[in-house]
């Protein structure tokens, strides 16, 4: 009996080892990492990961990589591009497995958890000499409340106007050449438009997001970054106004489950009268919805603070890189004034480098709609704010959205809904 069992045990043990040994390599990915000192010789091979840019800008990035490799002989950059869908999941999987690329395209909300986990290089320590090249607001956009340091180079910025459908405004008896410029005007026009169209035309297609609260002048977070504050009186006031819009069908019936893509489609099909967008959208309107394009109206974002909302992109350096000087040099190279300006001329984005927005490309009109939008946006971006707190995670966005939906459906009062949202977001903040 013993004779036959021993080999079984040996085989079983072998099988277990065969299973576990490869897994033991998964670990936490802590392979010692590299140095935080970026002052050494720029050399070696690094990986650079972008976010859904290969499809449209392959030649631009290949040119950037070639330029860097020529400038720093002995370096090699491997460019990886990941799809936009599930980008955060891809980064988290890489970070957990210890395979995060050396240089990574991130947004501030992605930088925050990576910095907390010690995976984003503090540029104030390693690359502070570059700080003066960027707009002060942009440099600060990758600072994390409760932590010292700046954790990514600012890259491109984006903002945009509010588009409106002149025909729908006119049909409702509104002056199509006088779009709303304040929140009060927006809500009044929206109610009138819904009333005149018997609820068939909504003005807005999305529920208020955290940046809407910010633009309305609601304080979003305390200064220490330890708790959210968007349930104050002003926040409740905004939500109560949206509730009124929802009840009057001035807010689209499917707004509670809408996504930016679906709201864009609603605007394209002229089911809603207003939608935020960027200069990029004009091309889309022209191509996909010529009837809408003929009636398109362009007006600045509505803001009670006098500052528009902007979206910020960044480029961080992985602390675990073995080629810190090369990784920092490349992250700076991609985001320097020359490269950002070249990129801005290929796509409707705005550079975050000091002085770039004074280029005639961003200040002079040529009579085209695209230029008009670009010049107006470039002007507003100098004072614009990224209203989304860097610590506001995807889970928190869902919490806010669900609470807003409860208030709009009348299941909770606006105050109760926002109190719950803040309570849940604070809990998530403590757990992060």
């Amino acid at each position: 009996m013993r004779i036959s069992r021993n080999p079984r045990r040996a085989v079983a043990a072998g099988a277990v080892l065969a299973v576990l040994l490869p897994l033991s390599a998964c670990g936490d990915g802590d392979d010692g990492g590299g140095s935080t000192d970026a002052s050494g010789k720029v050399e070696g091979e690094i990986t650079f990961q972008t976010w859904n840019l290969k499809a449209n800008f392959k030649s631009y990035f290949e040119g950037v990589v070639d330029g860097f490799e020529k400038k720093y002989p002995g370096t090699k950059v491997r460019w990886i591009d990941q799809p936009g869908e599930g980008y955060a999941d891809k980064i988290s999987a890489d970070a957990a497995a210890g395979t995060l690329p050396d240089v990574v395209n991130v947004s501030p909300d992605l930088v925050a958890p990576l910095a907390k986990a010690g995976l984003a290089l503090d540029l104030d320590k390693s690359a502070s000499k570059y700080e003066k090249e960027y707009l002060p607001g942009a440099w600060k956009s990758h600072q994390i409340p409760g932590m010292d340091g700046t954790y990514a180079f600012p890259w491109y910025l984006n903002t945009g106007p509010l588009f409106y459908n002149k025909r729908l405004f006119k049909d409702a008896g509104l002056d199509e050449n006088k779009p709303p410029t304040t929140y009060d005007e927006l809500f009044d026009d929206a109610l009138e438009l819904a009333d005149k169209s018997d609820g068939k035309v909504a003005t807005l297609a999305n529920v208020p997001t955290i940046e809407d609260f910010g633009r309305y002048g609601v304080p979003l977070m305390n200064k220490e970054g330890t708790g959210f504050t968007f349930n104050d009186a002003k926040g409740v006031e905004l939500l109560a106004k949206y509730k009124k819009l929802y009840d009057a069908k001035a807010l689209d019936g499917q707004a509670l489950t809408a996504t930016p893509e679906s709201t864009g489609k609603k605007f394209l099909t002229e089911a809603v009268a207003m939608n935020p967008g960027s200069a990029l959208d004009l091309e889309k309107f022209k191509k996909d919805a010529p009837r809408l394009y003929k009636n398109i109206g362009i007006t600045p974002q509505i803001s009670s603070t006098g500052k528009d909302n902007m979206y910020v992109m960044g480029v961080m350096v992985n602390t675990k890189t073995k080629q810190t000087p090369a990784a920092v040099a490349f992250a700076h190279y991609v985001t320097d004034a020359q490269r950002q300006m070249e990129f801005a001329k290929k796509v409707a984005i705005f550079p975050s480098t000091e002085g770039s927005l004074d280029d005639p490309y961003f200040t002079e009109q040529d009579g085209k709609d695209e230029t008009r939008v670009r010049v107006a946006a470039a002007k507003s971006i100098k004072t614009a704010v990224n209203y989304t707190p860097v610590l506001f995670s995807e889970q928190m966005k869902v919490e806010l959205r669900n609470s807003v939906a409860k208030a709009l459906q009348g299941k909770q009062s606006p105050k109760e809904a926002l109190d719950n949202a803040v309570k849940n977001c604070d809990r998530l903040l403590q757990q992060s």
């Binding site: 036959s4 988290s92 990576l114 986990a117």
Partner: protein
Amino acid sequence: MKSTTASQAAPTDLATTGTARVRKEPRPDGRGPRRGIRRQLPTSPWLFAAPGLAIVGIFILYPFLSTLNNAFTDKRTLIEGDYVGFANFQELWHDEMFWIGLRNSTLYVLGVVPALVILPLLLAMLVQKHIPGITFFRSAFYTPVVASIVVVGLIWVWMLDERGLVNALLEAVGVGKAGFLSDQWLLLLSAMTVTVWKGLGYYMIIYLAALANVPRELHEAAAVDGAGAVRRFFSVTVPAVRSTMVLVAALSSVAAFKVFSEVYLMAGPTGGPAGEDTTLVMLVQRVGTGLTGRVGYASAISVVVFVVTVALMLLVLRADRKEDA
């Protein structure tokens, strides 16, 4: 001669007992039992099974054990975390979204499983006949099964949209628009419809195979005895395919309880208005992914999903055994 007989007896013994037991035969020189070659006999099956076992171990067993382990920790995506005992399960008890998810997943089982047990059977009986052109219909009914769920979801979203085909038809006949994608219950019902529509062909094929084994003589005898079509269905067809119905019920109930794609595609990432259409698996995805994902908590929900699906299987199989008894 004696030793030859003895060595011949060993394989016979093995064959009759059906085990890998090796007999210890004394060697002719009296040195005790030979261990060399025979000892390796049981090894070879394991070696053959090793690649399969490795795959099962890496992709099924390890993730399962890891999830079980994580359920008792406060692990985050980027933070290993500590053991917290049953804290995650205690938190689940007080988590409103968990109960919403459990409610929706259970409703999904109750709504989808009876339809997927009965409708494909009726469909299979319809296409069972050997008449010209029937292959076309069999293929047509099977088409949704092979279609990508994302494509299917998008098509249904377009159809059920406020300005979609279905609402246009409803409006044309004077019923008025319905909030298929905005009303909490209609949304869940819409997602169930998609699941049933997509699953019909798959289970129809299973039933077709079962129906092919029902002896024609039984139907003929019943017909001779004066049984009509309905009577023949309940007295002959249903008893004959009862085991298949149990199999379909088991498979579809587990799939329904773990539903994700249909609801996610139709209700959006928030899980419907105020998250009211969230299912348990959607909740796992929402809380456990991303850079700030709560892996420990999501694992605890996964453990609940596992326990419930196992219970569902046992329940269905137990019901089957009772019927047999």
